[in-house]
């Protein structure tokens, strides 16, 4: 295996970025990420992006963002219609094929022009489920009741996760939901969709992020303490909700196993749990001990949920803490689909 590290990361997340297109807000982010390690687009061996034409409402919308990278002379690039974390996975595989020592990865989404809660109904089964337009909160609420009534979690545990996210997000300039609330205050909130309260739901955001990857000695030249990718794996559960056990995450457990999470202590974890219920399931599936692992020190996706970027942002948040020496070994996680249908787990280490 070729050693690959995350050496640069920039992000922007706001409740709504109005008056700027995706390309307009991504160009400065992409430039800053490359400039922070003294590289330009022509230095990149490969470029891969994650975004959604469906969310943008325009076919091949991502091509305009590729133009924004400054792809002259012509570049080697690819795009995934997925969170940027999956674009990073493709770039990592591309690097393993040999011949390049750098890659540029970015992801972005702007969901504020519509209601992402409703738009997400369109990711469900097109014949049996989507025509009923169950919104994403309703779908998660079905899983939440199974978890609560089955004794897999309590409402106070969910409120603790929400309170921790709010407290951590207070020091994150990119978080959207940053006002602190106590467990008691959260439990006093009215349900949005019984049994989920406002604090159980993701704070939707617009934005994006950009990451530079580099190999071996090149990474050491570019970054004082590179965040080495020691293991990465992604797995999926069935699309059909009715055949799945919604009280655990089999695919996250499998991805964590193959990524080698259990090999050593984990100092910090950045988990893409859009709901408190999903974060709880992920802590269990990854086998994390909250006494020894700082879970979502950024506040996580509860504090700022940017479609198509929240997963890659988790990798960037974990990597930047390794650069700073906040931890030596971290796990970053990305998800996609209803009720944690698909999961990616990435283990990062500092030297």
């Amino acid at each position: 295996m070729i050693d690959v590290a995350v050496v640069a990361f920039t992000q922007r997340q706001e409740a709504a970025i109005s008056g700027e297109s995706e390309v307009e807000f991504m160009v400065p982010l992409m430039e800053q990420a490359k400039a922070s390690v003294g590289l330009t687009q022509s230095d990149m061996g490969f470029t891969c992006s994650g975004s959604s034409d469906f969310l943008a409402g325009q076919a091949f919308s991502f091509v305009m963002t590729i133009d924004g990278t400054g792809p002259v002379p012509p570049i080697s690039e690819s795009h995934v219609e997925q969170d940027g974390a999956w674009a990073l996975y493709e770039a990592w595989v591309k690097i393993q094929c040999g011949g390049i020592d750098t890659a540029f990865v970015y992801g972005y989404g702007k969901s504020s022009p519509g209601s992402v809660r409703d738009v997400l109904a369109t990711q469900m089964d097109p014949y049996y489920v989507c025509p009923l337009w169950p919104d994403s909160y309703a779908i998660e609420a079905l899983a939440a009741r199974l978890m609560l009534e089955g004794g897999h979690v309590s409402e106070s545990r969910l409120a603790e996760i929400a309170a921790r996210s709010r407290a951590s997000a207070a020091s994150n300039p990119h978080a959207v939901r940053t006002d602190p609330k106590s467990v008691a205050e959260i439990l006093a909130e009215d349900y949005v969709i019984d049994p989920l309260r406002p604090s159980d739901l993701p704070a939707e955001a617009d934005g994006g992020c950009a990451v530079v990857l580099a190999t071996g000695d090149r990474a050491r030249e570019l970054c004082e303490r590179p965040a080495w990718i020691r293991g990465m794996d992604h797995r999926g559960d069935a699309h059909t909700l009715g055949v799945r056990d919604l009280t655990s995450s089999a695919s996250a457990r499998l991805a964590a196993h193959h990524a080698g999470v259990a090999g050593d202590k984990i100092d910090l974890a950045e988990l893409y749990g859009p709901f408190t219920t999903s974060e709880h399931l992920l802590i269990e599936a990854l086998g994390l001990d909250e006494d020894s692992t700082a879970v979502n020190p950024s506040g996580g996706a509860l504090a700022a949920h940017t479609m198509m970027a929240s997963g890659l942002i988790r990798i960037g948040e974990a990597a930047s803490r390794i650069w700073r020496g906040d931890g030596d070994r971290a796990v970053a996680h990305a998800t996609s689909g209803p009720c944690l249908q698909q999961n990616m787990v990435c283990v990062l280490e500092g030297d």
């Binding site: 008056g19 169950p134 079905l142 009741r145 199974l146 059909t240 909700l241 009715g242």
Partner: protein, 151 residues
């Protein structure tokens, strides 16, 4: 530079039709006729709604079977603020419903007057639309079966 945001209409279109195939097509045709189908898996259990391939093992599935028109609520969520295009314009419950004779559950709406009338394990039965066209919404939703009838 002007701060005016340019706006233009954009109509998303899907201007072609697709065949629903031998399994999903049979289920939808069944709905038009007031019948609900599942499909038998290799282990003998019945998947409803049916799929052409087993979602866990990917084996092709072909043995369609009729299932009941009543069943049990496996989980539910109270939708106090229904959104446009959802099955009912008054508060209702979303539920995963396991129909009699099926081993997996399907998503649909339960028309209960309030969350207090909902419980996991409760019995519900299908409410058919009068005009049916072979669509999941041919099932208007499900209604609670009063305990006296269940007993």
């Amino acid at each position: 530079m002007s701060s005016e945001v340019l706006q233009a209409p954009l109509v998303l279109e899907y201007p072609f039709t697709r065949s629903t195939g031998p399994v999903i097509g049979a289920f939808l045709t069944g709905l038009r006729d007031g019948v609900i189908c599942g499909i038998r898996r290799a282990d003998g259990t019945v998947l409803c709604p049916p799929q052409e391939y087993d979602p866990l093992t990917a084996e092709p599935l072909t043995e369609l079977v009729e299932v009941g028109q009543a069943g049990e609520v496996v989980t539910w969520a109270w939708n106090g603020d229904p959104r446009p295009m959802q099955p009912f314009d008054r508060p209702f419950a979303w539920a995963l419903i396991r129909l009699d004779g099926a081993d997996t559950s399907m998503l649909h709406a339960v028309f209960a007057p309030s969350a207090a009338e909902m419980s996991t394990g409760m019995r519900v039965r299908v409410v058919w639309r009068t005009e049916r066209e072979g669509h999941i919404a041919d099932i208007a939703g499900f209604e609670p079966i009063p305990a006296v009838e269940t007993a």
